[in-house]
C-alpha cells in the first residue's frame, strides 16, 4: 500500500451502486448516487452534512430501501432487503454511534447474534479464544475478550466493532467517521488496521470530515453534494484539498476565520477569572482570565483535560481545588444552575446527548434556559417565546427556518446554531464552546466562526476548546496549551503555529511524567 501509485490499488469491482434514489417525505435525500468500490481499496466518501452520506451508507447496510437504482455485488445485481441480507453478503457497517452492548463482554459483542454454542449452550471459552485471535489479528491483543465493553475507551470499542465485522467475514467494511472519537495516536493505529484489512483484500468505505486523514489513508474519493455524486473515483493522493472542498461546497475556501478585533483592551476588568482550578485525576492548577470581547482558545490533544476544564468551570463537574469568578463574583462550586444564572453558557462537546432535546422543537430548545424571561407567575407567554426564538434563528440563519421543526431533523451545523441561540437568548456574558464545529461541515464552519467572533465583538468573553489546532489558532486571540491536565504555555494566537503547539504539548508531556499521580497528590493536599 505504500507504493507511489495507490490509484490502482485493489482490483475487481466489488460493489457498484448506480442511480440510487431515496426520498423521505419532503426530502430527496439521495438523488441518483453512483458509487463503485474495488476489493482491497480504501474508498473515501466525502460530503457536507446533509449531502446524503448517512442515507447512502444506510442503504448499503440494508437499513433503508432505495426507491430506485441498481446495486451490484461482485458483478451480480442484489437487493439489500435487510441488515441481515447485507451482512450475509459481507457488508459490515460501523456506525458513528457505536452499536455495542456496553454491559456485555468483548467476546459477547463480537459474536452477538451468532453466539458460539452447542445445543443452545453457549461456549464462552471458544468465543473468547476466537475473539482473542481476531483482536490479535487487528494488532490489539491487549483488549481482553472477557472485558466489559462499557469499561473500554472509545478506541478499543471501535476495534471491537471492527473485530465483529471481521468475524462475519466482511468483504466490505463501512466506517462512519471512525476518527471522530480518537486522538492522533489512536488514529494511526486505526490506519494500521485499515491497511492490514485492505492488504487482505477487504474493501473499506471511509467517511471523515478530516480531509488530511483521507490523504493519508484513502485510495480513491467519491464526493457527494446535495444527494448526488459530484465526483467519483478521484485519486486520494493527487487531488488537491482545495479541489475537494470546491466539490463539496461549490466554494474555494478552506477555513475562513473572521478578522480579529484590533486589540483587546488589556486594562479592562476580566469577566471570567479561573484560579488554581483542579479536578482530581484529570487536571490541576489551571488559572486564566478572559476579558470582555476576547476569545481564549484551549489547545491540546484529546485526553489532555480540555473538555474537563470547561465542564468544571461551568459547574457540571465539582472542582477539587480552585475558584471561578464571573464579573468578580465567585461561583458556587459544582452548581450549573447558579453558573447559568451568573451569565455563563456552555455548548458541550456531545451536542446530541448533552445539549439538545432532540425530539423537541427548535424554539423550545432555544428558550429552555431563558424560560423565566417569558413567564409571569410561572405561565409562559408562548407568543413572545416563539418570536424571540424566530428572531434568533433568522439572525443566525438557521435552516430550515421553521422554529416548530424537531431539532433532530437539523444538520449538525444548524443544531450548533440552535445551541448558540439558546445562550444568546440568555444574554450570557461568558460562552464556553467545546468542539464548536464537531460534526459541522466545512461550509457551515465559517458561519460558526463568524458568529463566535461577532459575539466577542459584542463584549462576550469566549473560551473555545477544539481538537483541531488550526481552529483554535484561527479563532482565538490568546491560546492556552494544555498537556496532561496542565497549562504548559500561554501565547497570543498569532504568535503560534500548529507545529509550535505540538512541540509545546510534547515538551509538556515529557516534563510532567505521570500526571495523574501528580494530580491526585495535589488533590489530597487540597
Amino acid at each position: 500500500m505504500s507504493g507511489p501509485d495507490r490509484t490502482t490499488a485493489g482490483g475487481a469491482p466489488l460493489l457498484e451502486m448506480h442511480g440510487i434514489v431515496k426520498t423521505f417525505p419532503g426530502v430527496r435525500a439521495l438523488d441518483g448516487v453512483d458509487l463503485d468500490v474495488r476489493a482491497g481499496e480504501v474508498h473515501c466518501l466525502l460530503g457536507q452534512n446533509g449531502a446524503g452520506k448517512s442515507t447512502l451508507i444506510k442503504v448499503l447496510a440494508g437499513a433503508h430501501q432505495p426507491d430506485a437504482g441498481r446495486i451490484t455485488w461482485r458483478g451480480e445485481e442484489v437487493r439489500l432487503a435487510s441488515p441481515q441480507a447485507a451482512m450475509g453478503l459481507g457488508i459490515a457497517t460501523i456506525y458513528q454511534e457505536l452499536d455495542l452492548v456496553s454491559g456485555l463482554t468483548v467476546a459477547d459483542n463480537i459474536f452477538l447474534g451468532r453466539e458460539q454454542s452447542r445445543f443452545g449452550i453457549t461456549r464462552p471459552a471458544v468465543a473468547n479464544r476466537a475473539a482473542a485471535e481476531l483482536l490479535a489479528r487487528l494488532g490489539h491483543p491487549e483488549i481482553r475478550p472477557t472485558a466489559e465493553v462499557g469499561s473500554l475507551p472509545a478506541a478499543s470499542q471501535q476495534m471491537v466493532s471492527i473485530a465483529r465485522a471481521l468475524s462475519q467475514d466482511a468483504k466490505l467494511i463501512v466506517m462512519d467517521e471512525p476518527s471522530a472519537v480518537l486522538d492522533n495516536e489512536e488514529v494511526e493505529r486505526l490506519f494500521a488496521v485499515v491497511r492490514d484489512l485492505t492488504a487482505h483484500d477487504v474493501a473499506v468505505v471511509y467517511i471523515s470530515h478530516r480531509l488530511e486523514e483521507i490523504r493519508q489513508i484513502g485510495d480513491r474519493i467519491t464526493v457527494l453534494k446535495d444527494g448526488s455524486t459530484v465526483a467519483t473515483g478521484l485519486p486520494a493522493c493527487e487531488t488537491e484539498t482545495r479541489e475537494v472542498i470546491t466539490l463539496m461546497t461549490g466554494r474555494t475556501i478552506e477555513y475562513v476565520f473572521p478578522e480579529r478585533r484590533s486589540e483587546v483592551a488589556r486594562d479592562e476588568a476580566p469577566l471570567l477569572e479561573v484560579e488554581g482550578l483542579g479536578l482530581r485525576g484529570s487536571f490541576g492548577d489551571v488559572s486564566f482570565v478572559v476579558r470582555p470581547g476576547e476569545i481564549l482558545g484551549l489547545a491540546g490533544l484529546v485526553g489532555a483535560g480540555r473538555s474537563e476544564i470547561l465542564e468544571t468551570v461551568f459547574g457540571a463537574r465539582r472542582a477539587t481545588t480552585g475558584t471561578v469568578r464571573v464579573g468578580g463574583k465567585k461561583l458556587r462550586n459544582g452548581d450549573v444552575g447558579s453558573t447559568v444564572a451568573a451569565g455563563v453558557g456552555l455548548a458541550p462537546e456531545e451536542r446530541k446527548s448533552q445539549a439538545l432535546l432532540l425530539g423537541d422543537s427548535v424554539y423550545r430548545n432555544i428558550s429552555i434556559s431563558s424560560l423565566a424571561r417569558f413567564a409571569r407567575a410561572g405561565f409562559l407567554a408562548r407568543g413572545a417565546e416563539r418570536t424571540a426564538a424566530q428572531e434568533l434563528t433568522r439572525s443566525l440563519d438557521v435552516r430550515p427556518a421553521d422554529v416548530d421543526r424537531e431539532v433532530r431533523t437539523l444538520s449538525g451545523g444548524n443544531q450548533q446554531k440552535v445551541v448558540l441561540a439558546r445562550w444568546l437568548l440568555r444574554n450570557c456574558r461568558v460562552l464556553l464552546l467545546d468542539e464548536p464545529t464537531r460534526g459541522v461541515d466545512v461550509g457551515a464552519r465559517s458561519e460558526i466562526y463568524a458568529l463566535v467572533r461577532d459575539l466577542a465583538d459584542r463584549g462576550v468573553a469566549v473560551v473555545v476548546v477544539s481538537s483541531e489546532i488550526p481552529e483554535v489558532l484561527g479563532l482565538a486571540d490568546r491560546v492556552l496549551v494544555i498537556a496532561d491536565g496542565a497549562v504548559v504555555a500561554e501565547e497570543r494566537a498569532d504568535a503560534l503555529d500548529e507545529h509550535r503547539v505540538l512541540d509545546l504539548v510534547m515538551e509538556g508531556t515529557a516534563h510532567r511524567g505521570t500526571p495523574v499521580v501528580t494530580m491526585q497528590h495535589e488533590g489530597d493536599v487540597a
Binding site: 446527548s353 425530539g359 423550545r364 433532530r408
Partner: protein, 376 residues
C-alpha cells in the same frame, strides 16, 4: 399509507404528517372510544346509553383519573410512580383517624381534606428526595413506598376500616352540581389544571426537558434534581386528592383503598400516548385513556361478563392500544421488518433516554448536580 416509509432519522416526528402529531394521536383515541361506545350500544343498548350509566363510568374513572394526571407528569419527566395506590390508602387512613375527625368536627371538614393532601404530598416528597438525591431508580424507590405506605396505613388504622362520620363532608363529595357528580367535576378541574401546568407553564416545559434529556436539561441550567422532587410531590398530591374522593365515595378510610391503582394509572397514561421513556405525552391522551379503560369495564359489566374476563380484556387493550399508537406515530399500519427500526430510526439515532444513559462524559451521570453542594 403502506408506501410511506417507516420513520427515519431524518423525518421522525415531522414526516408522516397529521396522524403522528398529538392531535392525530388523540384522534385515534377518540375513534377507539367511539368504537367502544358503539359496541356498548349494540350489546347493551339503552342500559349503556343511559345517563346514569354514563355518570357511573365517569365517576369510576374520575378517581383513578386524578391519579393518572399526576402520573402523566412523573412519566413525562422520565420517572415512574408505583406507590400511588398505597399513598392514597395512607392518606385516606390518616385523614379519617379519630384525632383528625375530632379536629374536623371542631373546625371544619376541610381539615380532613388538607390532611389527606398533606400526607400525599409528604409521601411524594419522600419518593422525590430518595430518587433525586439518593439516586435510587424510581422503580425501586416507589416500589418500596408502595409496601411501606400501605403497611403504615395498616398500622395507623389497626387493620380496621375507619368510617367517615362528618355528614357535611359526605354530602359534599357524594353530591352533584347540576346533575354532574362532584367527583367528576374534581377530575375535570384537576385535568384542566394539569393541562395548563403541562402546556402553559415553565414547570411543564422543564418537565419535558428533564424527561427528554436529563443531561441536556442540567447543562441548560435547569435544576434537575429539584424538579424531579417536585414531580413526585405533584404525584403524591394527586393521590391525596384521590384519597379524599374515595373517602367521599365509600364513606371510609381504609388501608385497602387504591389497590392496583398504579397499574390502572400507568395503563391509562400509556394508552394515552405518553412515552414511558419520558419527554413526550399529553394530558388529553391520559384523560381519554382513563375513560376508555373504564368504559371497557362498564361494557363488560353490562354484558354480565366476569371481572376475570374483564382483567384479561384490559391486558389485551393495553397492548393493542400501544401497538396502534406506534403504528399511528410512524404513519404506517404494517408491521415493520426488523432492521427498519422504530420511529426515530433506532439504528443510528439513540432514543432520548438512550442518549441520557449512554456516552456522556460526566462522572455524576444524568441526574446531575451533587447533593450537599457547598462552596469551597
Amino acid at each position: 399509507m403502506s408506501a410511506a416509509p417507516a420513520g427515519t432519522g431524518r423525518d421522525a416526528g415531522k414526516g408522516p404528517g397529521f396522524m403522528s402529531g398529538p392531535v392525530g394521536r388523540n384522534l385515534g383515541l377518540v375513534v377507539a372510544l367511539v368504537i367502544l361506545c358503539v359496541v356498548g350500544l349494540i350489546t347493551a343498548g339503552d342500559r349503556f346509553a343511559d345517563v346514569d350509566n354514563v355518570l357511573t363510568i365517569l365517576r369510576g374513572a374520575s378517581i383513578v383519573g386524578v391519579v393518572s394526571i399526576g402520573m402523566t407528569f412523573v412519566i413525562i419527566g422520565g420517572g415512574i410512580d408505583l406507590s400511588v395506590g398505597a399513598i392514597a390508602a395512607l392518606s385516606s387512613v390518616w385523614a379519617t383517624t379519630l384525632a383528625t375527625q375530632q379536629l374536623a368536627e371542631d373546625v371544619h371538614w376541610i381539615v380532613m381534606v388538607f390532611t389527606a393532601l398533606a400526607v400525599g404530598a409528604g409521601a411524594g416528597l419522600v419518593n422525590g428526595v430518595v430518587i433525586a438525591y439518593g439516586k435510587l431508580a424510581a422503580f425501586i424507590a416507589t416500589l418500596a413506598m408502595l409496601t411501606a405506605a400501605r403497611g403504615l396505613a395498616e398500622i395507623i388504622a389497626n387493620r380496621r376500616t375507619q368510617i367517615v362520620r362528618d355528614s357535611a363532608f359526605l354530602d359534599f363529595f357524594s353530591g352533584d352540581v347540576l346533575g354532574v357528580p362532584t367527583l367528576v367535576i374534581i377530575f375535570a378541574l384537576v385535568a384542566i389544571a394539569g393541562w395548563i401546568l403541562l402546556n402553559r407553564t415553565t414547570f411543564g416545559r422543564r418537565t419535558f426537558a428533564v424527561g427528554g434529556n436529563a443531561e441536556a436539561a442540567r447543562l441548560a441550567g435547569i435544576r434537575v434534581q429539584r424538579h424531579t422532587v417536585k414531580l413526585y410531590v405533584l404525584s403524591g398530591l394527586t393521590c391525596g386528592i384521590a384519597a379524599v374522593m374515595i373517602m367521599g365515595r365509600t364513606t371510609t378510610g381504609s388501608s385497602t383503598h387504591g389497590t392496583l391503582w398504579e397499574l390502572e394509572a400507568i395503563a391509562a397514561v400509556v394508552i394515552g400516548g405518553t412515552l414511558l421513556i419520558g419527554g413526550r405525552g399529553t394530558i388529553v391522551g391520559t384523560v381519554l385513556g382513563v375513560i376508555i379503560f373504564f368504559t371497557l369495564g362498564n361494557v363488560f359489566t353490562l354484558n354480565d361478563l366476569s371481572s376475570s374476563a374483564q382483567a384479561v380484556a384490559r391486558g389485551v387493550i393495553i397492548v393493542v392500544a400501544v401497538l396502534l399508537q406506534q403504528r399511528l406515530a410512524t404513519g404506517s399500519f404494517t408491521f415493520r421488518r426488523p432492521g427498519e427500526g422504530p420511529a426515530g430510526g433506532g439504528l443510528v439515532h439513540g432514543s432520548p433516554a438512550g442518549a441520557v444513559s449512554g456516552g456522556t462524559s460526566d462522572p455524576g451521570g444524568p441526574g446531575g448536580a451533587r447533593p450537599g453542594t457547598s462552596p469551597t
